[in-house]
């Protein structure tokens, strides 16, 4: 019995870690879509860039027998926090390049372009084995403070780390959106022509929002990499790396950071807990196919929210300036 409770607790902790990482992605998407109206369907691309950057920055170069199995362009063996900062920087830099190319496109085209960018990034990591070991990916990534705690309790420590990042990002965004800068973003979203008539450089504000959101997603990617301690390109497929996050933000409430967090926990609970229920009720022989019921569930959920409650559970708050 004690064993069982321990198992449930462990499950809940790793659930909370993943849901919090997804909440960080959702807040990044909220900067893009919720605040600025940028249709980023390439979250998986920034997710991958963040995860791979931090992995390469923090892991040592393979030595000995490992050199036969693991190819990576470099391994800097630097601390975790350096990895996270590097992930944010590289992700932001790539967003800047993408933004310069695509931000002048109309919204529908931007959406399709970002799908293409994310797919191209994933395929690139998959094909270019010299960079980060191709389809096998990188394993045994370092975990911060790992040696200070008994292995069985490490996830509790990591949960605290992730929650700290979540809290800092949340507070920073809430302050940002209530600042004059945040008001311009929403003005750009609501009426681009009026905003530019008001003397605001619409392109520049969009670019800043794209970079900021991408940096947050890069941080999320780094946190994921050090949690799972193993990454491979298949993690960054559009379903798992992009669309589930859209479902989360849409469900919770576009334009609302609390909604982004709430939606992430609900959708991730549906995704990770439904497996148990489904496996209990399906007939024998169907076990391998049953998990795909979740695809249908999430797809249906997304459609139903858009039809019945397009503003999500919470919806956008009225922002009153404090300045």
């Amino acid at each position: 019995m004690g064993m069982e409770i321990g198992g449930i607790l462990n499950f809940l902790v790793s659930f909370a870690i993943m849901a919090s990482i997804y909440a960080i992605f959702s807040m990044g998407l909220n900067v893009h879509w919720g605040y600025t109206g940028l249709l980023n369907f390439g979250i998986a691309g920034f997710f991958a860039v963040g995860a791979y950057t931090s992995a390469l920055v923090t892991s040592p170069m393979p030595t000995g027998v490992l050199t036969n199995y693991v190819k990576q362009a470099f391994g800097l063996n630097l601390p975790f926090l350096v990895g996270v900062v590097a992930a944010a920087m590289v992700s932001g830099l790539i967003a800047a390049l993408i933004g310069l190319l695509t931000l002048r496109l109309s919204e529908g085209y931007l959406a399709i372009s970002t799908i293409g960018i994310a797919e191209s990034i994933r395929i690139f990591f998959n094909n270019e084995s010299w960079l980060a070991n191709g389809p096998q990916g990188l394993i045994g990534l370092p975990q911060p403070l790992h040696d200070l705690f008994p292995p069985g309790y490490y996830n509790y420590v990591y949960l605290v780390i992730v929650l700290a990042f979540l809290a800092v990002i949340y507070v920073a965004l809430e302050r940002g959106i209530r600042s004059p800068w945040g008001r311009v973003l929403r003005a750009v979203r609501e009426d681009e022509v009026m905003a530019s008539a008001d003397g605001k450089n619409v392109f520049l504000f969009r670019l800043q929002a794209l970079i900021l959101g991408a940096m947050i997603m890069g941080i999320g990617g780094a946190l994921y990499a050090h949690f799972s301690a193993a990454i491979q390109p298949s993690v960054f497929e559009p379903l798992f790396g992009t669309f589930i996050i859209w479902a989360m933000l849409t469900l919770g409430g576009t334009g609302n950071n609390k909604g982004a967090i709430l939606g992430s926990f609900i959708v991730w609970a549906l995704w990770s807990w439904s497996t148990f229920v489904i496996l209990k009720i399906v007939p024998r022989g169907f076990e391998t196919r049953a998990p795909f019921i979740r695809y249908v569930l999430i797809g249906l959920l997304l459609v139903i929210i858009l039809l019945r409650r397009p503003k999500g559970i919470i919806g956008e708050e009225r922002q009153v300036s404090r300045f």
């Binding site: 496109l105 529908g108 795909f292 019921i293």
Partner: protein
């Protein structure tokens, strides 16, 4: 190289089939249908039970001419097309129509189509599993052409059927009254409405045409390679690239765009890994968007 171009025409014919419906829906409803690729997958899989069903009937077991498949598969096109149309019309009625009528932004429908895509793929995984499926087993007769071109006989069938289907639709759109109304709607919605064209009825027709072509594309691609749950998704980028190349709502543009994309993707394998094909499609798309956002083939008066 000549061989890659020929393979490109085969692939391009399938892309062209899918892109006609996609551009028609885009022109008429503003929707970029993200589920288009997965609807192609459904079209391919939906033919499977009919192929097995028809294989019980003796005379349908005979191979069609020199091709690798039997008459059962040839006949399975009909129920697959009908079911594909039924599915598309139902999805429109349950998802896109309520969104249109609530005056939702076209982006909302775009996001909804991702949900639809997800649901369809999940259903395919549940019903048929993740393993590869084949319509037929056994030899696939080859043809040796000059210039060292090796071609499967099936591929000739694929190209012929694809372009016959496209030609039929093209004739319908340029000659039939209904077709002309559809094109008018894709061309100028406001004007078409003023002229008394019933938009909702036209949208059902557009979905019908798109879904018929989708089913044909799916089965042809299933004959060309094999059936797998992600087979349609990989078409999404080339499909979008093709219709952007062709210009919004332009049928001829989409056809030309489809061919260009098919050939470009296959020829790129001379230098790049085949897994880079979607990236090639994407780069073509982004170049068009940056330099010729209205498409290259533009809109021609029919």
């Amino acid at each position: 190289m000549a061989e890659l171009v020929v393979y490109g025409i085969v692939l391009g014919s399938i892309i062209a089939l899918g892109s006609v419906g996609l551009t028609l829906i885009w022109g008429i409803t503003d929707l970029f249908n993200c589920a288009h690729g997965d609807q192609i997958t459904v079209g391919a899989y939906i033919a499977l039970p009919f192929v097995s069903l028809f294989s019980w009937i003796g005379f349908l077991q005979a191979k069609v001419g020199p091709f690798s498949f039997n008459w059962g598969l040839a006949l399975a096109f009909i129920p697959a097309i009908l079911l594909s149309i039924g599915l598309a019309v139902l999805i429109d009625r349950w998802v896109y129509k309520p969104l249109r009528q609530s005056g939702a932004h076209f982006i909302t429908s775009f996001i909804a189509s991702i949900g639809v895509a997800w649901g369809l793929r999940g259903l395919i995984y549940i019903i048929w599993g993740a393993d590869f499926r084949f319509y037929t087993k056994g030899l696939r007769p080859m043809l040796f052409l000059p210039l060292e071109i090796k071609l499967r006989l099936d591929e000739i069938f694929i190209v012929v059927v694809a372009w016959a289907a496209v030609a039929t639709v093209y004739l319908f759109l340029s000659k039939a009254k209904m077709g002309k109304a559809l094109r008018a709607l894709a061309d100028n919605r406001g004007l078409a409405r003023v002229a008394g064209i019933n938009t909702e009825r036209m949208i059902v027709w557009a979905w019908g045409i798109a879904a018929a072509l989708i089913a044909i594309a799916g089965i042809l691609y299933g004959i060309e390679t094999q059936l797998r749950p992600e087979m349609g998704w990989i078409f999404l980028l080339p499909l979008f690239a093709a219709i952007i190349l062709g210009g919004k709502g332009s049928i001829t543009g989409a056809l030309a765009g489809g061919l260009v994309l098919g050939i470009a993707q296959q020829v790129s394998t001379a230098w790049l890994l085949p897994t880079y094909k979607p990236a090639v499609a994407f780069i073509i798309m982004i170049l068009v968007l940056l330099f010729r956002p209205k498409g290259i083939f533009g809109r021609r008066q029919m």
